[in-house]
């Protein structure tokens, strides 16, 4: 019974570590998807200057993961423009769909919702580029953190689990 209990404790510590790594990996994946989507969006905006709805549809169809869901949601809710501001629609879609992003990431993304479609093209592009830069730095930091913590996140819970097991046994 003790061995079984100690085994469960050990496993739960290891699983906790794995989940932490997976969370971080999801965060990185989401940041990367949203960065790619913003990059596509700004390139399309600069080259073709399509109306916003068309631009969002195009970005949704060429994005992946949570970024795709975000732009898809924004396109669907676009019909409510007027009743709600574009910024509010952007925020709502971000909070609903980009669940793997942190509050700080969402705050960075919010700045785009305030500018996009409301100002001159050059201002929109510079807001997009500025947000892309901030998110890219965050992505690089997250990737570095991930590499550093990958071993620790597995190692520490495993060691702790082993220690608890020894104590129990």
């Amino acid at each position: 019974m003790r061995v079984f209990g100690a085994g469960i404790v050990f496993l739960s510590f290891v699983v906790m570590g794995i989940l932490q790594i997976k969370d971080e990996a999801r965060h990185i994946r989401c940041l990367s998807d949203i960065l790619n989507a913003l990059n596509l969006l700004s390139a399309e905006l600069q080259s073709r200057r399509p109306p916003m709805r068309e631009l969002l549809e195009w970005t949704a169809s060429n994005s992946e993961g949570e970024a795709k869901a975000f732009f898809h949601c924004l396109t669907e809710n676009f019909i409510r423009l007027g009743e709600r501001s574009f910024h509010a629609l952007w925020q709502e879609a971000a909070e609903t769909c980009l669940r793997s992003l942190s509050t700080a990431d969402l705050r960075d993304l919010e700045s785009i919702g305030k500018i996009l479609g409301r100002t001159e093209l050059s201002m929109q592009i510079s807001a997009l580029k500025s947000c892309e830069r901030t998110l890219r730095v965050k992505l690089e930091e997250a990737e570095m953190r991930y590499r550093e913590r990958k071993k620790l996140s597995l190692g520490i819970p495993a060691t702790l689990g082993a220690l608890v097991c020894i104590l129990l046994l």
């Binding site: 905006l45 916003m52 423009l81 007027g82 574009f86 409301r118």
Partner: protein, 289 residues
């Protein structure tokens, strides 16, 4: 949805509007100015319809809705000082940025003027019969701004088209047809083709070459290039139906640009719209050609 409802639809939902004692059918314009109450123009007089003063955010919300959150996609019309939204013409004012004397864009938009177009089917039926007993004659419609030129032109296009004339319309600001993604907003008759968005001079050449019209219609002749377009149309033997800003023929003769239109005898009929206490009066006048 009528034009007034479309205009109201542009306003933020939370805005409380007081239209007591106002007949919406009489409203000619809706005016939005930052720091001032919302007003409507009725018979040349502005009346306040909100108690609260409008904020920049209020104005931005209207612009956002009117452009579909796509200010970048309407840059060219913004440079000309207006936007089109489902047949509504929205005049834009504020601080512009210029380069070589040419407007590059708006640094800050301070006020908007939403014009409410009206449709009165049959308004010009009797005029058409009176002015053209046998054949169509080149016609210029005159009135001051807001005097009903576009409404009259729209009805004349419809009337002439339904009488069998093949009309082509150079609708630069999408005001005459109010075309949108779902199709035409205003009925312009059975035999009418419309080109929306291009300048009048460009449209005229495209329509002459491509659509073989018997009459070409355009709103607001206002520049040298428009007059050149009229010259080309008349030179091709195609009829012309147009409007210009002027009180009457005498007022027109005071302006060199318009005087050349009369001097070159492009038009055979001038239709002056006068504002009287009993409403608008339409005064056709035949010219010696």
């Amino acid at each position: 949805m009528d034009a007034w409802t479309r205009a109201l639809d542009l306003l933020p939902a939370h805005m409380e509007i007081n239209l007591i004692g106002i007949n919406p059918l009489e409203i000619e314009e809706l005016r939005i100015r930052i720091g001032k109450p919302l007003t409507v123009l009725i018979r040349g007089e502005e009346r306040e319809i909100t108690e609260t003063k409008l904020s920049r955010e209020n104005l931005m919300r209207v612009l956002e809705k009117a452009t579909g959150a796509s200010m970048h996609a309407v840059k060219d019309s913004l440079r000309s000082g207006y936007l089109s939204y489902h047949g509504l013409r929205i005049g834009v004012c504020g601080i512009v940025t210029c380069s070589d004397g040419r407007i590059e864009g708006f640094q800050q938009i301070q006020s908007l003027d939403i014009r409410i177009p009206r449709e009165f089917p049959g308004l010009c039926d009797s005029l058409i019969t009176q002015m053209y007993p046998l054949i169509f004659r080149n016609t210029l419609i005159l009135s001051p701004p807001g005097g009903g030129k576009t409404t009259a032109l729209r009805d004349m296009i419809r009337g002439l088209s339904n009488r069998g004339h093949r009309l082509a319309v150079a609708d630069e600001r999408n005001e005459l047809s109010a075309y949108d993604a779902q199709g035409a907003g205003f009925d312009l008759g059975k035999h009418t083709d419309v080109l929306v968005g291009a300048s009048k001079s460009t449209s005229a050449m495209i329509l002459l070459r491509g659509m073989n019209p018997t009459i070409l219609a355009m709103d607001e002749i206002s520049s040298e290039s428009d007059i050149l377009a009229v010259e080309q149309i008349v030179g091709c033997g195609v009829g012309i139906l147009a409007t210009a800003h002027a009180w009457d023929r005498d007022d027109m003769m005071k302006r060199p640009l318009y005087r050349s239109l009369l001097d070159k005898r492009f038009f055979s009929v001038i239709l002056t719209i006068r504002q009287t206490n009993h409403g608008r009066k339409y005064c056709p006048e035949k010219l010696d050609t």
